[in-house]
Symmetry: D2
Subunit: 343 residues, 4 copies
């Protein structure tokens, strides 16, 4: 009946679609140099209180990750990431395909800490026989739905400064993070604390698109060359600027994320009330309950779609439920009712 | 007043937009494995009379080119291309960034011939000290608006067969080629004669998208791995399938291209009638007239936008005029009238 | 007074040098296609009882590793290695620089097992969103001096067969492994059990050189293209063939390795007799004792050179002592005497 | 009876060999950080009057080329080279395998000029849609035996300065160039005029080795990281320093090159005296006479070995004759006598 499989199952928010319709025959130059992209970039700079930031619009997250890493790093420099990090496992070696090693470290909650970063550095002796870890990659929300507090991100920034590292934050689900229970981070904080981060559009109301914000002291001047070389400049770049313009007008971006989070918490609370555990606490739009296998099968038989995160033991499975800007409240309530009926 | 700068200045044809609107809340799985992509792929296989073809949808041309070359070639294998080829000059070394050399050869009309291909092969001795040219890259229409006849493409195919080469046709402007005066090629011809080609959507009525058709005896099984590694799988892949479904229904794709060509020929004939020469004959949607510099400036002052192809001599410039599915007849007529008034 | 820092501190065994002198003015063709290389290759094929093996001579280990991995793997395929593996940590991302991910797994003794290999595979779901682990990289001796038994290598081979993986054995210190206490492997075993392995010359009596043996069902036909592309074909390739010819005549290769091992065991036994522990048991030419820091400083002050493996606690350090074909017995005895005097 | 095929057919000059023998059991640290390499580097800095130059020793030319290009260029930057340049045709795409495009230009005599360099620049518009040509690659001697005059190299330097380009000179046959008739360049000139160049050892008396001199304002600090990543740091680096120490003591390097050149001129004059033409004038150790096919066959039947450069017409072939430090005068005289007897 309903798919909780991910937050990119549907198209775009109606206001985003309407912007495409309204401007369809506007003639602009291509490749993201048009007035729409400039307007959206200005909007983002203002929201980030980062007047000197460079803004680039890319179509998707893997693209944004591989272009950024390749643009910032020299051949012998490497990435530090959580072993659950998207660049570590879910991008088919996209970073390595640009020539860079990803040094991973295990973390229970998907988040990096100064201690974890320093444990990676400690394994590298600074000689020419080893890569030089140079860029710390984090995601907010993380791959398992957790978020960084302001204190945590500030500590990472200090750690990066102390060791001459860049800090890059993958914001594919940034809307969900910034509107979550317990979040203390704002866009200006992100612009101040990271060297590069992005506002994910694909998973929060756009048809597609990630808005990259470069506000740190990193190589910037030829970023568009790196983009083009990787096939990451959209011909009708206007489409990206336009969508972000729509999303960032009147707070739509945050409103949509808040909606997704609220329904996720409704799911969390409803499931917890039925006695099912959550190995990791998430206040964002991904929830990972552990259910008996029979219940999982029952839900699937009812027509619900979701991802299997992993088997927990012989009779239990951790599943992933994802809500989005498009999830109807009724779908959540129906799911909870059906889940209750499994008991 | 009007931009003839390129064929991606506007959005999408209304029927394409409508398809996006109508299906906006359909939930599908991501990454191009959804029913819309399957339907569009089936449609393309039928139009190509190629039931065994693999169809992949990519966002843009540079992406399609770099992924295809990298997927087909081993590290030591190289591309043969015209020195005007898009992969040679206009993609910031995207092919080389995947590790492959592009061996170029000069050609007066933008087209490769068996003799030109063999001249490249003759410069390679088959030893381990040189790359092995393995893939012939052509574009139809070419970068200068010319098209391949069926005889020409058949001759290239024979040449490729004789030398164990792959034939890859960049169809960013394929609609314009297939509907041009003098064209003898059909989609089934292309599927039969090339190993890989694509139907360009970006420049012919879609918001974005290229539909890649792999019908030759090339490595196919892991094409999606190559796509993902290069950031070339769109999360909401459905958007690509849907647009091609709309374009390929009731011949819309060809109708749009025919419109662009007709207006280009109107431009060509009108300009020629005023006595201005065209160094290369084009029957497609790009026209390259040579105008006095004073006329060029006059047109620019009138508000017309177009690309400068190159200075021809101290007082003449070759410009590029591009029409598209969205070009209004009135814009063409106004341009010709303004041009006439320059004399 | 004496350096136990590594096994490449000196030049070549006199018989190797003599071969260079004797043939100095022989004219041969270049790039390893000469009669000396052919003779050495034939010798290796006979010693390996592998008449169909391809033999290639390379200058060094990092070169051999990166060329082999790149020649065997497709872009989306990855290496499985111990987290202590040379390719994982000591080659400045050389594998990643060819575009391939190295998937690492912790192992207490430097060795991979089927269970460890399968734990890596279990983290990959076979989809296009993840790399495909395809090649298992092991070293014999390992980076910490341990060796594979025949049963262990056979089990790895079965595991590789079961999962369609290649098995590649880095033999930079293969001589030491094959002549060690407890070794049950022979060259024919290695040729039969691995897809590719090499006999290290650099660390066992040659000036430089590694002899690569490709005996498995792997892509072979263009290996020399991969070598050339990576700058790994020596102009005077003859020098490599000649050195291996000298080393493999009358068992010199094994005699030299046996010498290194015997002195290493003398060190081990002498150090153990003084009561110092060895965290990992090694029967080969690298020994890793743990000594009080004051003893370490005393030895350094005496003029002994060796590498610091790692601090163990505030007052103890694990050091690495390496012997070679060139280590004189007297140096070992002097070291032990000086060590005894520290107590 | 004698091979004029190349200048790396034999081993090393006796004084080089003797240095290896004399120091065979010296213990040094590895990877080129030893006193021998330091001594040789100091010697080179003095000979070049370049006290601030960085000196690196590499095993071969392809390695030196690919490491240098990759170390100096950013991903989107490209090489400018003659279409006959070694990096363009004879290195199996080694440069492209590091991700960089080689932009080629035809030149009748193997040499680049400011006009040719600027013709390449003129084809690049400085936008993000094209690579940025950044490094000019030249060889001295060139691949066809010609040499740069001081005026020519100075003009190239000015051109590079005017356009912000690096100048890299491949000196695989630099000895031959510097000791040729008509040469006006010295090592200090090379150090002053280029950013990076190398003194080839492989083709001038060493077993192997190229000494790279970095004296320009180029990225230098992590050159050894780039070397290691490409497998281009020799474990027993001492062997490289030692050989260059021997070659650069008492002018041996120049003496050997002079010998090769003298015998080449003897060949040239003797062949010309027999009436055979030379399409390109060379005063260095490669000579390219055009001979009747019957004469070529006769010489081959007599046992002479040489490379076929290319067929000139149905009955004539251009061959390449190469002399070296090891070529005996008697071999040259015998060749000329046998050639005369063909008439």
């Amino acid at each position: 009946m309903y798919s909780f499989r991910n937050d990119y199952s549907e198209g775009a928010h109606p206001r985003v679609l309407q912007a495409l319709i309204d401007t369809n025959l506007e003639q602009t130059c291509g490749y993201g140099l048009d007035p729409r992209c400039q307007t959206a970039a200005d909007l983002i700079r203002r929201l980030c209180r980062a007047p000197d930031a460079d803004i680039h619009f890319l179509v998707g997250g893997t693209q944004a990750n591989l272009v950024t890493v390749d643009a910032l790093l020299q051949s012998y420099e490497a990435v530090i990431a959580a072993s659950t990090g998207h660049v570590s496992v879910h991008e088919t070696g996209a970073i390595e395909a640009t020539g860079h090693k990803v040094c991973t470290v295990d973390t229970p909650d998907g988040k990096l800490t100064p201690a974890l970063v320093e444990s990676v550095l400690a394994g590298h002796n600074g000689s020419e026989h080893m890569v030089s870890p140079r860029l710390v990659y984090v995601s907010d929300t993380t791959e398992i739905g957790t978020i960084y507090t302001k204190a945590e991100l500030t500590a990472l920034r200090c750690c990066c400064d102390a060791h001459g590292l860049y800090l890059f934050l993958d914001g594919a689900r940034l809307g969900s993070a910034l509107t979550a229970e317990g979040n203390g981070l704002s866009l200006p904080d992100l612009a101040a604390l990271t060297d590069v981060f992005y506002l994910g559009g694909t998973k929060n109301g756009a048809l597609f698109g990630e808005a990259l914000v470069i506000n740190g002291a990193v190589p910037r001047s030829h970023f568009r060359w790196h983009m083009k070389q990787r096939g990451a400049i959209l011909a009708k770049g206007r489409l990206l600027g336009l969508q972000f313009q729509a999303l960032l007008t009147d707070g739509l971006y945050f409103e949509l994320a808040r909606h997704a989070n609220q329904l996720a918490l409704r799911l969390r609370d409803g499931i917890a009330a039925l006695g099912y555990p959550f190995p990791v606490e998430s206040s964002t739009n991904q929830q990972f309950p552990v259910l008996p296998n029979s219940v999982v099968e029952h839900l699937e038989a009812k027509g619900y779609a979701f991802e299997i995160d992993r088997p927990v033991d012989d009779s239990h499975t951790c599943i992933r439920l994802v809500t989005s800007w498009a999830t109807p409240e009724a779908a959540v309530e129906a799911f909870l009712k059906d889940l209750a009926s499994c008991q």
